[in-house]
Symmetry: C2
Amino acid sequence: MLDVIAFDADDTLWHNEPLYIDIQSRFKKLLSSYHSSDWVDRKLFDTEMRNLKHFGYGIKGFTLSMIETAIELTEGRISGGEIQKIIDYAREMLETRLEPIEGAEETLAELSQSYPLMIVTKGDLLDQEAKIANSGLAQYINNIEVVSHKTRESYAAILSKHKIEPHRFLMVGNSLKSDIQPVLELGARAVYIPYHLTWVHENNIEQELPQDGYYQIENIASLPELVRKISPNLNALS
Amino acid sequence: MLDVIAFDADDTLWHNEPLYIDIQSRFKKLLSSYHSSDWVDRKLFDTEMRNLKHFGYGIKGFTLSMIETAIELTEGRISGGEIQKIIDYAREMLETRLEPIEGAEETLAELSQSYPLMIVTKGDLLDQEAKIANSGLAQYINNIEVVSHKTRESYAAILSKHKIEPHRFLMVGNSLKSDIQPVLELGARAVYIPYHLTWVHENNIEQELPQDGYYQIENIASLPELVRKISPNLNALS
């Protein structure tokens, strides 16, 4: 018995991480005369982690972290023109149309006939709104929640705002840290759909996952079948 | 008769623009060997306007615009160390505790006894949430809406979500463009409280303001008195 099915957006409904990886590889090329690709990766990750509490998730924070890393790794010798290139990456990222995950639209279309659907996503508000609007999927979604961090507290606030009991809430996503663990800890249910390129930070969980209410599937196209098992009242579906 | 009183946050509940002006004056000092202060102001404003649709409002977008302006105005000769200083400004801004507007807390405390109160603010989500949490004012607020842009459409979405009829909604703020015009156009009411340092973009309105439902006061401390006139059912107040 479910009241709401909620979806993560990036890398659950559309391919997002490949865009970051592409830009990051161009960033490494930009710095290739100074440092090895591995070392740039490592320093960029450190800078992102340090900046997370100030800048949050999203393209603008990623860009500021790339600029800082470039300055640090070149000991200030990076040129203005090269930094301009990094800012141009940001604008390019913000304008890129993201490719939908295979089966996402069909799954949302099917499930929306029986359940209210929600998107719970984190990042820059403007950016996440634009991605949702451009995805063509908003028509299936009843509520959109953009949060700064996906923690137990932020999920609890969403459940309380919409008056949903935890065991009647199902969250679907590709991040153990953001979509699965905090949701299970609240006593709600969560479906983990691994994505082949998930950012290391997102699966970096320290505690063991609670097993109650935890499901894993390989592909979003299998979700309606799983939901029928979890919540047999889904009669509208064959 | 009002169902909800909604407040802008920056420069309505706390002093925000002075922080931007302070950082901008340090930015101008940083570039003073290249260009006059007026010219830097003008080019930065142009860059901000050009970037608004990509980066939105808030400190991260402001910082990226400062970096771009610095590169452009120095023809790329700005050093990595100087750009690092600009990023350090951003972190400093994000950590600054903002000073409350005189009378704001008393006004919220008084009005919250008779009306549900809402904050409608735009900018970076993480940043706006932190400012609200640090303000000590959240205890008086029933709903917080962080939006990417304050347009007629975004206000209409808020009213519809909370099932509020326009003429029963009162918005209070310091920006004609963001807090007053779109609200009046919807048929709702708006109280303009001018702030001595409002960013020029925020009062740059092209059409004449509708006069229906428009009020202006000099100080937020006068708001309860105005509300008693607008909505005489506010019996709880003396």
